[in-house]
C-alpha cells in the first residue's frame, strides 16, 4: 500500500478507446450524410435526427460535468440546470443582438424590451453585440457564480443533502428572478426567434451541421479532460473526498480547494453545454432553471452510471431518447416512466448501465478464466 499513485496507464483501455473513436466517427458522419444525400435517399439522415442528437450531446456534456462533482467527488448538485441556463442566456444575449432590426418591431432593441417600453439596453447588456465577449460570459458567469457560492458553502462544510437542498433553492431563486420581466432577460418567454450567428443564418442546414460538429468536438474534449483529471493525482484526492472526507483531512489535505476547483470546472462545462444548446434548439427561457430540470440531469448520470465517464453520456442519451419517444407517442405515460426510472435505478441499478455492462462482462469473462466449459458454452 504505497502512497504514490500507481503507474498511470494510457487514458483509456484499448477496448474503450476503440469504442469512443468509433462512436465519434459515426456521430461525425451523420451531418455529412444529412447534407450530401437528398431527402428520400436510403442514406439520408433527417435534419430532425441531427437536431435531436445535437441536443442530446449538449445534455451529455452537462451530465459529464455533473458526474465530475457527484460521481467522483460525492457532491450532489440539484442546481446544475442553473449553470446550464446561465451559459445559454449568455450566448442568447449575443444571438438576440444579432437579430438586429429583423424583429417584429424592427427596432434596435429586442422585441421584449420594446414591449416593456425600454429605450436603451440596460448596463449588463453592454458589449454583448461582440461574439467573443459573450463567449467569455458563457465561461465567466457560471464560473464566478459557482466559485463564490462554492467558496462559502464548502468553507462552512455544508455537505450531503444540505448542500443539495441549498443548490436547489439557488436555482429556484434564480428561476423566480428570471421570470420577472424587469430583470431584463425576456421574462417567461426568454430569448427566441434567433436569426443568425456570426453572420450565418441560424436555421440553415450547414450552420446546424457546424454547430453539431462543434458540440461533438466539445463533448469529446470534455470527455478527455474529465478522464485526465480523474486519472491524475488530483482525481484520486477527489475520490478520497467522496469516500471519506474527514479521513482525507486527517491526512493533511484541505478539501476546500479541491472541491472548489472541481465544482467550478463542472459549472463552466455545464455553462458551455448550455451555450451550445441554445442555438440548436432556438430558445432559452427560465423553465430551464426549474428544480425539476436539474434533478432530471442527475437521473441521466444515475442511469448511465456515476463514477464512470462513458456512463453519463450513455445515460443522457438513453433517458432523453426515451423522453423523446414517449412524449411524442404516449405523452401521458412519460412521467410514470421517468418516475419509475428514478425509483428502479436507485433501488436495483446503483451503478447504472455502465455498472450493469461491467457486471455482465465480468460474468462472461470470469467463467473463461476458471475454464468452465459449460458456462462458456452457454454464453
Amino acid at each position: 500500500m504505497g502512497f504514490a499513485a500507481p503507474p498511470r496507464p494510457s487514458l483509456f483501455p484499448p477496448a474503450v478507446w476503440t469504442g469512443v473513436l468509433a462512436g465519434t466517427a459515426i456521430l461525425a458522419l451523420l451531418p455529412i450524410l444529412n447534407l450530401t444525400f437528398a431527402d428520400g435517399s436510403a442514406l439520408h439522415i433527417s435534419s430532425f435526427t441531427i437536431a435531436l442528437l445535437g441536443k442530446f450531446m449538449c445534455f451529455a456534456i452537462a451530465a459529464l460535468a455533473l458526474d465530475l462533482v457527484w460521481g467522483y467527488t460525492g457532491i450532489l448538485s440539484l442546481g446544475h440546470g442553473l449553470f446550464f441556463a446561465l451559459g445559454g442566456y449568455a450566448h442568447g444575449m449575443y444571438l438576440m443582438r444579432a437579430i438586429g432590426r429583423d424583429g417584429v418591431y424592427q427596432s434596435d432593441l429586442p422585441d421584449f424590451m420594446v414591449f416593456l417600453d425600454w429605450k436603451a439596453y440596460p448596463w449588463y447588456w453592454s458589449f454583448t453585440e461582440h461574439f467573443w465577449y459573450c463567449m467569455l460570459l458563457v465561461v465567466l458567469v457560471p464560473g464566478i457564480l459557482a466559485f463564490v457560492f462554492g467558496f462559502f458553502a464548502f468553507r462552512s462544510r455544508i455537505k450531503g443533502v444540505y448542500f443539495s437542498i441549498i443548490t436547489q433553492a439557488l436555482t429556484f431563486a434564480a428561476m423566480l428572478l428570471f421570470f420577472r420581466n424587469n430583470t431584463g432577460f425576456g421574462g417567461n418567454n426568454g430569448f427566441t426567434d434567433f436569426k443568425r450567428i456570426l453572420g450565418f443564418t441560424i436555421t440553415a442546414p450547414q450552420t446546424k451541421a457546424v454547430l453539431y460538429l462543434v458540440t461533438l468536438a466539445t463533448l469529446l474534449g470534455a470527455l478527455l479532460l474529465a478522464r485526465s483529471i480523474t486519472q491524475s493525482k488530483l482525481g484520486r484526492v477527489l475520490t478520497g473526498i467522496r469516500d471519506s472526507e474527514s479521513r482525507l483531512m486527517f491526512v493533511g489535505y484541505d478539501p476546500l480547494w479541491f472541491k472548489l476547483f472541481v465544482w467550478t470546472l463542472s459549472a463552466v462545462l455545464c455553462g458551455i453545454a448550455g451555450a451550445l444548446y441554445v442555438p440548436q434548439v432556438g430558445i432559452i427561457n427560465p423553465s430551464e432553471m426549474s428544480p425539476a430540470n436539474s434533478i432530471e440531469m442527475v437521473i441521466w448520470v444515475a442511469t448511465g452510471g456515476r463514477g464512470t465517464l462513458i456512463g453519463p453520456i450513455v445515460g443522457a442519451g438513453v433517458v432523453n431518447g426515451m423522453k423523446t419517444w414517449f412524449t411524442s407517442v404516449l405523452p401521458q405515460y412519460w412521467l410514470f416512466v421517468l418516475g419509475a426510472i428514478f425509483v428502479l435505478v436507485t433501488l436495483f441499478l446503483p451503478q447504472g448501465i455502465a455498472g450493469l455492462v461491467r457486471k455482465l462482462w465480468a460474468r462472461r469473462t470470469a467463467p473463461r478464466a476458471v475454464a468452465d466449459p459449460a458456462a462458456g458454452g452457454v454464453s
Binding site: 443539495s164 434533478i295 428514478f342 433501488l347
Partner: protein, 533 residues
C-alpha cells in the same frame, strides 16, 4: 324591532303616496320638457327631496319607463299600463305618448341623485353602499340631503361614512371655522383617498400663498395628516403581522411533516409536496361526497376532511416507506432521487384521475368573509381558522412525540437505533409509523392549503423548496426550531413584500437563508453533544 317599525312606516308612506299625490306637479313637469337645464334642475331638486315617491319617479326615468303625453303629462309606464305618478291613477296608454330619453349628462345627474336617495333605503347594506358612493364624489348640492340622512340614520357604521362625507364637502366651505371643524373631523377617517385632498390644501403655490388661506385650518390639516398617517401605518403593520402569521402557519403545516421525516428520520422526502397535494385532493373528494350524500351538512365537510386526509396520506406514506424508502436507509442522496421519482408518479396519477386542471374547493360559509378591524383592515376567517389549526397540529405532534409510547420509541430510534433495537423496540415498525405520521401531517397541511389557494396536481411543487428551507433553518430534529423558523420566514416575507415585491422578497429570503446556513450550518437550534453527528 325598531328597524322593522321604520321599514313598516316607509311601506305605509309608499302606499299612501301612490294613492294620493304628494309631489309638487311643478317639480315633475319639467322632466317631460325640452329644456335641458330645467330637467337637470328638476332631477336635483327631486333628489334633494329624499322621499320614496321621488325615488320611484327618478328610478323610472333611469330605467326609461317615464313617458310624456303630447299635452305634457308625465306618466310611468309598465307593461303597457300607464300610471300618473302625481295622482297614482292608472289607465291605458294614451295616443302619442313618447318615452323620455336620457342623455349622458342627465344620466350622470340621475345616478348621483339616485345614490343619494338610496341613503333612505330599508336595507342597511344598500344604505352603506350608497353612503360610500356619495362619499366618493360628494358635492355641495348634496349637503342638505346628507344632513337629513344623518339625522335619520341609526347604524353607527353608516353614520360614520355619512359624517365623513359631510366633512369632505365642508372642506370646500367658505366658512373657515366650518373647514377647520371638517378637517378635525376627518382625522378619524380610515379612507386613505382623502389624504391627497388634504395634502393639496397645504401645498404652497408658486407665489408663496397656499390653497388654504386660513392659518388655523392649515395647522389643523397638518395635525390631521399626521394622525391619518399614523393610523395607516398601524393598519399596515397589523396587516403585515396577521398575513405574516398566516403565511407562517401555512409554511409550518407544510414543513411540520418534513420536520419529522427529515428531521427525525433523516429521510429526504422529495414527495412531501405531493403528500400535501394528496391531502388537498382528499379534501376535494370529501367535499364531493358531502355534496352528493349530505348536502345539508356541506358546511362541515372540512371537519370531516381533516381525519380523512390524515388517514389517506398516512397510508400512502407507510406504503412508500415499506416498498421503497426502507431499502435506502443510510443513503440519503439515493433516497432523494427515489422519492423525486415517486413524486412524479404521484403527480401524474392525480392528473390521470382528476385531470390537469385545478379542482374547485370552496370555503365553508363559516370560513368565508372576515372581520374588519381598525376601520380598514379585513382579517379573513379562513386565515384565522388556519392559524388556529396550525397551533392545534403543533400541540398534537408535540404531545404525540413527548407524551406517548410511540413518541418515546421514535425518539429512542432517532437517538440510537441499535441500542433501541437491542432493548426490544420494533425499529422497523416504528420507522413505518413515524413516516406515516409525518406523511399524515402533510395531509393535514394539504387540507389547510386547499382552503387558501388553488388545488391542482402541481400544488406540492411550489411548497417543496419552502418547506425544506423551514426545516433546514430551524435545525434538524427540532420541533421548536421548525415553529420559530416558520414564523420568522412568514413574517419576514410579508414585511419585505411591500418594499421589494413578492418575487424579490422571496429571492432575498432564499439568499438570507443561504447566508445564514454559512454561519450556523446546523440551523437555529443545533443539537449539542453526542447526538450531534
Amino acid at each position: 324591532m325598531r328597524r322593522i317599525l321604520i321599514s313598516l312606516a316607509w311601506v305605509l308612506a309608499a302606499v299612501w303616496t301612490s294613492a294620493f299625490a304628494a309631489l309638487d306637479p311643478a317639480l315633475v313637469k319639467p322632466l317631460g320638457g325640452d329644456d335641458a337645464d330645467a330637467r337637470v334642475e328638476a332631477i336635483t331638486r327631486l333628489g334633494a327631496l329624499g322621499t320614496p315617491e321621488a325615488f320611484a319617479i327618478l328610478n323610472a326615468l333611469n330605467e326609461e319607463k317615464l313617458y310624456v303625453t303630447p299635452d305634457g303629462r308625465v306618466l310611468v309606464v309598465e307593461d303597457d299600463k300607464a300610471t300618473d305618478p302625481l295622482t297614482g291613477e292608472a289607465f291605458d296608454l294614451p295616443e302619442g305618448t313618447d318615452s323620455i330619453t336620457v342623455n349622458n349628462r342627465l344620466r350622470r345627474e340621475l345616478e348621483s341623485a339616485l345614490a343619494g336617495l338610496r341613503l333612505f333605503a330599508d336595507d342597511a347594506k344598500v344604505r352603506l353602499k350608497a353612503a360610500r358612493e356619495v362619499q366618493q364624489n360628494a358635492g355641495a348640492a348634496q349637503l342638505p340631503m346628507l344632513e337629513k340622512a344623518l339625522a335619520k340614520e341609526t347604524d353607527p357604521r353608516i353614520r360614520d361614512v355619512l359624517d365623513m362625507a359631510v366633512a369632505t364637502i365642508n372642506l370646500k366651505s367658505d366658512d373657515a371655522e366650518k373647514r377647520k371643524l371638517a378637517v378635525e373631523r376627518l382625522a378619524d377617517t380610515t379612507n386613505a383617498s382623502i389624504r391627497p385632498v388634504l395634502a393639496a390644501m397645504i401645498e404652497p403655490k408658486p407665489d408663496g400663498t397656499f390653497v388654504e388661506p386660513d392659518e388655523g385650518v392649515r395647522a389643523a390639516v397638518v395635525d390631521t395628516l399626521a394622525r391619518i398617517d399614523r393610523h395607516l401605518l398601524v393598519i399596515e403593520w397589523t396587516g403585515n403581522l396577521f398575513y405574516g402569521l398566516s403565511l407562517a402557519s401555512v409554511l409550518l403545516l407544510a414543513a411540520l411533516g418534513l420536520a419529522i421525516t427529515f428531521g427525525l428520520m433523516g429521510i429526504i422526502n422529495m414527495a412531501h409536496g405531493e403528500l400535501l397535494m394528496i391531502g388537498a385532493y382528499s379534501t376535494y373528494v370529501v367535499q364531493l361526497a358531502f355534496r352528493r350524500w349530505f348536502p345539508g351538512e356541506l358546511d362541515w365537510y372540512v371537519v370531516a376532511a381533516v381525519p380523512t386526509a390524515f388517514i389517506i396520506t398516512a397510508a400512502v406514506g407507510m406504503l412508500l416507506e415499506r416498498t421503497v424508502i426502507r431499502w435506502l436507509y443510510g443513503r440519503p442522496l439515493e433516497t432523494l432521487l427515489a422519492t423525486w421519482g415517486i413524486s412524479l408518479v404521484l403527480m401524474q396519477t392525480v392528473r390521470t384521475i382528476f385531470g390537469a386542471q385545478n379542482v374547485e374547493v370552496a370555503n365553508p360559509s363559516w370560513m368565508s368573509g372576515g372581520v374588519t378591524v381598525l376601520g380598514g383592515l379585513v382579517l379573513t376567517y379562513n386565515r384565522m381558522v388556519i392559524i388556529g389549526f396550525a397551533v392545534f397540529v403543533v400541540i398534537i405532534v408535540w404531545a404525540l412525540l413527548n407524551k406517548t409510547r410511540l413518541g418515546l420509541f421514535v425518539r429512542a430510534v432517532t437517538q440510537n437505533r441499535r441500542m433501541a433495537d437491542c432493548v426490544g423496540v420494533p425499529t422497523g415498525r416504528v420507522d413505518m409509523l413515524t413516516f406515516g405520521l409525518g406523511s399524515g401531517i402533510a395531509g393535514l397541511g394539504g387540507v389547510a392549503l386547499s382552503q387558501l389557494g388553488n388545488v391542482g396536481p402541481d400544488l406540492g411543487q411550489s411548497y417543496i423548496v419552502d418547506s425544506f428551507m423551514v426545516v433546514v433553518l430551524g435545525g434538524v430534529g427540532q420541533l421548536a426550531g421548525t415553529v420559530i423558523a416558520a414564523i420568522g420566514l412568514g413574517e419576514l416575507n410579508k414585511f419585505l413584500e411591500p418594499y421589494a415585491g413578492a418575487v424579490l422578497a422571496k429571492i432575498a429570503i432564499l439568499v438570507v437563508i443561504v447566508l445564514f446556513i454559512q454561519k450556523r450550518p446546523q440551523g437555529l437550534f443545533a443539537l449539542k453533544g453526542r447526538s450531534a453527528d
